[in-house]
Every structure is written in structure tokens, then in C-alpha cells.
Symmetry: C2
Subunit: 307 residues, 2 copies
Amino acid sequence: MTGTPLFERMALIGIGLIGSSLAQAARERGLVGEIAISTRSPETLRRAEELNLGDIYCLDAAVAVEDADLVILCVPVGANEAVAKWIAPALKKGAILTDVGSTKGSVMEQVNPHVPDGVHFIPGHPIAGTEQSGPDAGFASLFDQRWCILTPPAGVNEQALEKLAAFWRGCGSDVDQMDAKHHDLVLAIVSHLPHLIAYNIVGTADDLETVTKSEVIKYSASGFRDFTRLAASDPTMWRDVCLNNRDAILEMLSRFSEDLSAMQRAIRWGDGEMLFDLFTRTRGIRRSIIEAGQETDAPDFGRHAKD
Amino acid sequence: MTGTPLFERMALIGIGLIGSSLAQAARERGLVGEIAISTRSPETLRRAEELNLGDIYCLDAAVAVEDADLVILCVPVGANEAVAKWIAPALKKGAILTDVGSTKGSVMEQVNPHVPDGVHFIPGHPIAGTEQSGPDAGFASLFDQRWCILTPPAGVNEQALEKLAAFWRGCGSDVDQMDAKHHDLVLAIVSHLPHLIAYNIVGTADDLETVTKSEVIKYSASGFRDFTRLAASDPTMWRDVCLNNRDAILEMLSRFSEDLSAMQRAIRWGDGEMLFDLFTRTRGIRRSIIEAGQETDAPDFGRHAKD
């Protein structure tokens, strides 16, 4: 893509998997003029520079956002408030401030009070990622054909909203809008609960006395290994998600546990019909996900192709 | 591989994913002379013939096993007893009888009483599969670099055991031995619990009123879709597994639920440290599984390579 970039300067605060992928996507597709990168760890900042992810590198986030017309917070959601306080005085009038966090209610609550007049704060969440983290894990096509959800506050500047949406579309995403509360409920079921369940079952397996860890590893192809991908995700990010979307997560965990108890009872009492019915209706959802272009239709996630 | 085949005639009772893959692996690698295939559905039998999976096709399992020196039951574990009764009178003296079921205690209990003298019954379980089922889903390399567990009964004929192990090694597998009870415990955690959890979470998501099914599908790349693969597995097979490995599954479900309650409590009370610790120790297991050659190290199961 050539022509005038959408933004003259983009500042990325945090340069992990998402920040690094955004830098590469925006650069490759000509969406921004300059890229300023800030992160609190000097090692990570140096690594970002080695990878040539940006144009300006600084440990001081307030310096990075100076003159930026697009500022994206790419830190774990628990760090958003501190970062917002830090950069607020340095934000340029007319700039768009957004984030990529997995919880949106908390971000609205924690960041909004610090946003200066004249800055357009529009939270966002790209539904994309891998189990890897850090600047080396990023790649330009991460957002291709993935959804990005924006949760604009009431009274949002429509022009700013459209510009941010255009940026995400430029990164390859489809853009959706919803309110922050609904976002948090949707993500609790499609993302947060799956990660917690995955972490939990890997923990349960790790604790067994009767089955050795080497047995779990050897025979993991029979199902277990599918869960280990999510359970290898960034611990800080996921701790923060739990602490910042508590109510929706507890609601989904309760429903899941109730359903699990019903299944446990069916197994105990040999209710084959109930089990068969459940095991049948779950097939259709995968088919729909494949049809929606959100999953590969190759058996075993296509792993065999790589053997 | 050329030379004398290990068995002159192999009979496969049942020709789903595993039976079909066995037929193709055994043929391709010259492990057997002739292949006789039997299945109770005329349509499936016809399909197996169209796919040219064997040499002899019959609806009567007792006819298929005549003159076979290797008989492999490839039916859902709940069907093993009826099949054993059916074929018992027709089994050839000196033949090896085995199966591929995911539960081994039940198979010992249900099949053993019907095995005639002079027939070597050695239960087996290849730790391999995909979420697809039926004869079309099979492929010759399914067992490559996967484990096959044999659970020989006390007093097994060592020569027969070695011959069966050689067959599985010929199919590409590594062969392990353990007793049936331990097998069922190991599989309950590495396979049965993961499948049940996957079925359960997909069911929970399907039942929500506040989040629409189309939202679950659109945003599934954030974690949920990983679970839908296991939840697309064959319902009959999995109902039978639940009914035939009840005690071990209930034990693992209880442990999982206890751990989930502890996690739920940590989320409710904001215990970030407990969450961070759990989320950290689960990373190592995935690394070990990749090192053991049981998983791809490409991010996202290598899905991006196929985009």
C-alpha cells in the first residue's frame, strides 16, 4: 500500500507479541509515517531496536507519545492505568488513544479519568494472538482476517472512530463495535474461560501422583496437548485479565461448572443418551467456525502437514 | 518395506478412522498378506471397497476372521463384547486377537471370557487419531511417531506379544506396555478428561442467552476454537469411553473440579499471586511435549502457515 499514511506518528507503549505485530503490519502496509516505541524494560527495548521495529525508541513513555497522532497501549491490562497517568500530560491535542487489552470495562474505568480534553480515547481489542510472547513473536499478518472490536465511549468523535477503524482494516482486520460490558461478557466465554480451563487441566495433570509427568507428555497426542497451547500463554497478561474481568469470568465459570456436574452425574449413572446428545450437538459449532474462516479445516489443526 | 509379511491375513472388524488407517499403513508397508474387512453398515463396507482398503469385504464378522492370523477390533469400545461373542467360534487357532479401544479394563473384562483356547488376546491402544471419523478420514501415516500401548494379560504368549509389537512398530509406532488399570488412569487424564472438558465448554457456550452463537463463532480465534477440535470427535466412541472408564474418569473430573474451584476462589478474592504461579508452571509442560516430538513448535499449531 502506498500513498499518504493514515497517521504521521504512531506510538506503541509496550512491544510484546501484539505491539511488535502492529509495528510490522503498520510499516509494511504504509499505515503510519513514523513509529515510536516505548517499553519499561531496557532489554526489550534494545531487542525491538535490533529487530528494527520502529524509528524512535525510548524508555520514557511520555517522550514516545509526544507528537504522536495515534497512541496504542500494548501492555497487560493491569498496567494501563499507570501508563495512562504517565503519558496523559504529554498527549497531543487531537490524538487518538487506544489499547489492545482483552478486558474493556476495566480499561474504560481506569484510563478514561486520565485522558485530557481534546484526546480521543477509543478502547480496542484485536481478536488475534498466538501462545508466544515478546517482540520476537510478532509478525505482520497476525491480524489478517481476524476481528478487531472497538468499544467507543458515548459521545465518541465519529471521525476519530472511523480513522481508527481504517487503521485496523489496513492491518487486515474486520472491525466490529460493541459496548465494553458486552465485550467483556463475550470474551469471557470465547477467550478467558478457555484459557482458564486450559491452565487448570494442565495444572491438574501436573499434580497427579498416580500418573507420571513423562506419561502425560508421551501420550499427550490423545487430546491433552491441544490444551497446552493456551496454557503456554503469557502469565502476566492472563493474571491481569482474571483480575480485570472478574464478574463476567465468575459467571461463565459457574455455568461451566454446573454443566460439568451434570455431565459427571451422567457418567456416574451411565446416562449414555445424555452424553451422546451433548457430544453430537457440539460438532456443528466447529463446522461453523471453519466456514466463517476462523479455523483451518485440516484434521488435527493441520499438524500432520508439518510432520 | 518388502519381504515376508508378518501376518498372512489381517481381519479388521470396523473400518472407521483407525481401521482405515491400519489397512493403509499395513498395506503400504507390507506388514500383512491379505486384508479382510467387516463392518455392520453396508454403506460403510461399500465405501471401504470403493477406497480399495482391503481384499475381502463381508458384513459377517465371523466370516472375515476365518483364516486370519491377526484380528483387530476397531469398533467403539461398547461394541467389543458383542463382536467378541460373534467371532469367537470362527477364530483360528494361534491367531492374535487385539483391539484399538481407548479403555482397556473394560475390554479385558468383556472380551476375555469369550476368547477360545489357543487364541492370543492382547488388548492394544494406538495413541493417535484426528477429530474426523469414518473410512475416508484414515491415512497411512497416522501412527508415525505415536505411541501404541499394549496391555497384555498375565501369562501372555511372549512370541505373540512380540509379533504384535512388531506389527505396530511396522505401522510407525513406538510400543509401550502397561497393565490395563494403569492405562485407564493415564488415558483418563491425557485423553478422556480433555475430551469431556472440550465437549462441556462448547455445550456451555452453545447454551448462553447473553452471547449469541454468531459472536462465539466470529471471535473464536481468541481461544475457544482450540476446544472445538476435540469436541468434534465421534459421539458414539466417546459415549462408550465414558461408560467404560467410569471410575478413572470420575476421579480425574473430581480433581479437575476441585482445582477449578480453587482458581475460581482466587479470581473472586483477587489473589493474583496464586494465578500467576499456576499460569507460570503450565508453560514447561508444552515445551516438554514439543521436545518429545508429540507436538509442533509452530505458533498457533502452525495454522498460520496454512492461511
